[in-house]
């Protein structure tokens, strides 16, 4: 049988959080460190049951600082690793997310967003961490973040998150939410051989003399999108890595020039590969007067009002950000020249809408549909915003 041990190929009626765990297992994740937090706990629960079945390791850490940090350690041991959390834990993980980015460590961090700020609404939905995902850790960096709208997509995107993290040697965020995480729907787990699984570029003992190895080598051909191959601890390369600004060898280099090279490398490997990383779902954009730009659960709940508006004769396009970061700035900027308005529904008081505004740069109207966390958006509010974007007066 070609089936990988431990894969649940078949059709399931599965909780979103569990689908996330199954995706991780299939992607090759064999280490999970976490700390219980609603509404992400079910991911940890499922991983604690599943990992020992596939020779993986589960460890419940003392807090989210430690969880994210242990994930980095495991990744340097050569094992694909993941953690999952929600708002308050996400805040704590920012510290080690920064270390992960600086050390160029592949790993996946899932944020099942709930209403905030602070302890906020533990059991209820929010999309209020979108900007924190981009800017939450200190210093300059680029980040990859994906946003699923259903348990099936949470499964699919968890696999993609692992692939991207391995390919670009960087932490990848899955920015889901309480609604998707706690929803049970049909999840189809395909046969293992049908799933594309990527592994980090790895130099092994024998490939190269340890002396010649550079853990952060710049591209020999000057390619800005180059990703330096990695090694794993114990393979004889006697590497050194540090959160300090470092040179190609990973040694501290305390000067502005080294910092420029260091920061450019971690940013450019993402910006130069945007085409590969950014995934968008586009529907009826050609000739649209109004385009709804959204992501995750809010994109999904916008489909009904979009249908309604079309029935009313409004030409509505639909642009769903499957990859939320890096932001498809260029695409939206070009689209802004052709449409009357963008409508941006999201469960926060206005986060990704700022990116849309920035990309539209005044070329078109941008209408946000916002509410703080607690519930999914009312489709009627989205419909009203579409009408407004199309220049139709609101009925009294």
């Amino acid at each position: 049988m070609t089936e990988q041990k431990g894969s649940l190929t078949g059709e399931h009626f599965m909780l979103g959080d569990h689908a996330c765990a199954e995706g991780a297992i299939l992607a090759g994740c064999r280490f999970f460190a976490g700390y219980p937090i609603t509404p992400a706990t079910e991911i940890a629960e499922r991983m604690s049951v599943r990992l020992p079945q596939v020779e993986g390791k589960y460890v419940q850490m003392e807090d989210e600082l430690a969880s994210m940090n242990a994930v980095l350690g495991a990744s340097w041991a050569g094992v694909k690793s993941m953690t999952a959390t929600s708002g308050p834990g996400f805040s704590l993980m920012m510290e080690n997310l920064g270390l992960g980015i600086m050390l160029e460590t592949p790993c996946v961090l899932v944020n099942v967003q709930r209403g905030g700020p602070s302890t906020g609404l533990p059991t209820l939905v929010g999309q209020q961490d979108m900007m924190q995902a981009r800017w939450g850790s200190h210093g300059d960096y680029e980040i990859i973040a994906l946003s699923p709208g259903s348990p099936q997509e949470l499964f699919d995107l968890t696999i993609r998150a692992f692939n991207l993290s391995e390919k670009y040697r960087t932490p990848v965020l899955v920015m889901t939410d309480a609604e998707v995480g706690h929803m049970t729907e049909k999840v189809v787990i395909p046969p293992v051989e049908e799933i594309e699984i990527l592994h980090r570029p790895l130099v092994s003992r024998g490939d190269l003399e340890p002396d010649h190895f550079r853990i952060y080598r710049a591209s020999p051909k000057g390619d800005p999108g180059y990703v330096s191959p990695m090694v794993k601890a114990g393979d004889g390369f006697r590497i050194h890595v540090t959160g300090l600004t470092h040179d190609e060898r990973g040694y501290p280099a305390m000067n502005p020039e080294a910092n420029e090279l260091n920061v450019s490398r971690i940013m450019q490997k993402i910006t130069a590969n945007q085409k590969d990383i950014i995934q968008l779902e586009k529907e009826k954009l050609r000739g649209a007067d109004v385009v709804v730009v959204s992501y995750g659960i809010s994109a999904r709940t916008s489909l009904w009002p979009i249908d309604q508006a079309r029935k009313e004769g409004i030409k509505v396009g639909y642009l769903r950000l499957i990859t939320v970061w890096p932001f498809p700035e260029e695409f939206i900027s070009k689209l802004a020249e052709k449409v009357q308005a963008f409508v941006v529904p999201e469960i926060n008081m206005g986060q990704m809408v700022r990116e849309v505004q920035r990309s539209a740069a005044g070329k078109t109207k941008v209408i946000g549909v916002h509410k703080p966390g607690g519930d999914i958006l009312d489709p009627r509010d989205v419909l009203e915003a579409i009408r407004q974007g199309a220049g139709i007066r609101q009925e009294a």
Binding site: F31, Q53, L72
Partner: protein
């Protein structure tokens, strides 16, 4: 003030660095140069600091283990946090990780658990391990994780200029405790032992030899080993405290030496002493007047790895069970029918299986009837205190909006749920109740279709009152006709405990027949 070395005059080395020059540093002229990154020397430590000795002892112990115990030093990983001691990771020619402040231990935890073959050593300072990383320290000890933690304790935050810390003795001085420290320090061996460490020792850097021996023991110890090394801080701590006062601040080497001599005078070796009594005593001026050193604790018990691996067999059993259920699944070739969006509300009290009933409907629709189904349950305060609610949406087209807007179908098994939900049911909607648990009020809605069945009684008579929800499901399946009977039965068979499958299917059919009769 930061003590990171700034080398602004020189051109960035990164541009001019020639590959393969590390080897040049291994000259054989020094017995340890194969384990030091010569290209990174000189180190940043002050003259008179104890860290050089700590590093030397550490390397000696590794060399001994390599030579006498056949250790492959490629399998050794050193993890540090931030601070003067944290720099050790940068000077040893081993896999070495200079992480962030306080987080060396969890990083080491990930390394060790992911690859148990590695020998993982954390070397960091007192601020890193007992201050910002204190929580990680006690938890790694509690797990008896098979790593070694070496804490070089110089009683203050040296790299940032000598601030008071969690190990600064009571009444001692520091930049941020110039009137004397009014807090009390940790006794680190006691803390480690109380937290679950299975090997605990302390030496000063004066005991280079003993330290070497102790580290050999710690590194080969199965389980969490902790070694505290008391080291003089010739620049910061000595400047403020009686041990170093009056000594020429320009001559740091001398000052460090004098402090070390002081530690020698007050040192007392007491192996096997209860860690509680392994104190560092000070007088009223904060002057250290006694340091107990030695090996305080050595216990053997299963470490984290061993304890974890003992569970693998159980995990395998769980897996076989789950896989068997999946393999057994039949594929029903039920023709997909057109179902408009149908919203179903289920309600009752905790323990009636309101959640499972919703999930069974959803699974029957999604997996066995080739429809779309979305199941959600009510979380939050109402989930406690007895009330339970769950929602299912079924449709033959994608379900965009995952919440109920106006349910057309309702399964209600308690008076509380009736009161809560009945008004939300659409006009002409169908309300199914357990008619022994729900008493309809006189003003019960007449614009809906209400049908009842004594579900709990039927289940009780069949021998298990917990199957009442299944009776309701049979009733609902027949009345509504959205999901096929066969699909429901398969879903039930997969969802209920194996021993109760037959009973559940029996009562499901009873409910179904009653539904056909009434519907």
């Amino acid at each position: 003030m930061t003590a990171e070395r700034i080398d602004s005059k020189t051109k960035p080395r990164i541009m001019t660095y020639e590959a393969s020059s590390e080897g040049d540093w291994i000259t054989g002229l020094h017995p340890m140069d194969d384990l030091l990154r010569g290209e990174r020397l000189p180190h940043i430590w002050c003259q008179g600091c104890g860290l050089g000795t700590a590093l030397t002892s550490f390397i000696s112990s590794l060399k001994w283990l390599e030579k006498r115990k056949g250790w492959d030093l490629d399998k050794v990983a050193v993890v540090s946090g931030i601070g003067c001691t944290g720099r050790i990771a940068g000077y040893v020619r081993l896999d070495s990780f200079h992480t962030i402040h306080g987080r060396a231990i969890p990083f080491a935890t990930g390394l060790k658990i992911a690859n148990p073959e590695l020998k993982v050593i954390v070397i960091s300072g007192d601020g890193d391990i007992a201050g910002i990383g204190g929580n990680h320290f006690i938890h790694a000890a509690r797990r008896n994780l098979g790593i070694t933690v070496v804490c070089v304790n110089n009683f203050n935050y040296g790299m940032t200029g000598g601030q008071v810390g969690p190990t600064t003795p009571h009444e001692a001085r520091a930049v941020t405790a110039q009137y004397g420290n009014y807090e009390y320090p940790f006794n680190l061996p006691y803390l480690a032992a109380a937290s679950g460490a299975s090997y605990v020792a302390r030496w000063t850097t004066l005991h280079a030899r003993q330290l070497d021996w102790t580290l050999r023991k710690a590194l080969t110890h199965p389980g969490f080993s902790f070694v505290e090394i008391i080291a003089p801080c010739s620049t910061a701590y000595s400047r403020w405290n009686p041990e170093g006062k009056g000594l020429d601040p320009e001559n740091l080497r001398r000052r460090g030496l004098e402090v070390m001599k002081h530690y020698q005078r007050v040192g007392k070796t007491d192996h096997g002493l209860h860690p509680k009594d392994a104190h560092i005593k000070v007088n009223e001026r904060g002057e250290i007047i006694e340091i107990i050193e030695g090996e305080f604790l050595l216990e053997t018990r299963p470490d984290f790895e061993e304890a974890m691996n003992q569970r693998v067999e159980i995990a395998e059993k769980y897996w076989q069970r789950e896989k068997a259920a999946l393999d057994k699944r039949v594929s029903l070739s039920i023709k997909k029918k057109k179902v408009p969006r149908t919203e179903i509300q289920l309600g009752g009290f905790g323990g009636q299986g309101i959640m499972s009933a919703g999930k069974i409907i959803g699974m029957a629709a999604a997996v066995f009837n080739n429809l779309e189904a979305c199941f959600t349950q009510s979380y939050g305060p109402e989930a406690r205190g007895g009330a339970a609610g769950s929602q299912v949406i079924i449709s033959s087209s994608p379900i965009h909006h995952p919440h109920l807007t106006e349910p057309t179908s309702m399964i209600i098994m308690s008076q509380g749920a009736y009161d809560k939900y009945v008004d939300t049911l659409a006009i002409d909607g169908v309300l199914l109740i357990d008619n022994e648990l729900v008493i309809l009020p006189e003003d019960h809605r007449t614009d809906i279709k209400t049908l009842g069945i004594p579900a709990t009684k039927i289940a009780e008579e069949a021998g298990n009152n917990r199957a009442a929800n299944t009776v309701m499901l049979g009733f609902w399946t027949a009345v509504e006709g959205i999901v096929d009977q066969k699909a429901m039965e398969e879903s039930i068979a997969e969802s209920v405990p194996p021993k109760t499958v037959d009973l559940n299917l029996d009562v499901f059919r009873t409910g179904y027949q009653e539904g056909l009769a009434q519907g």
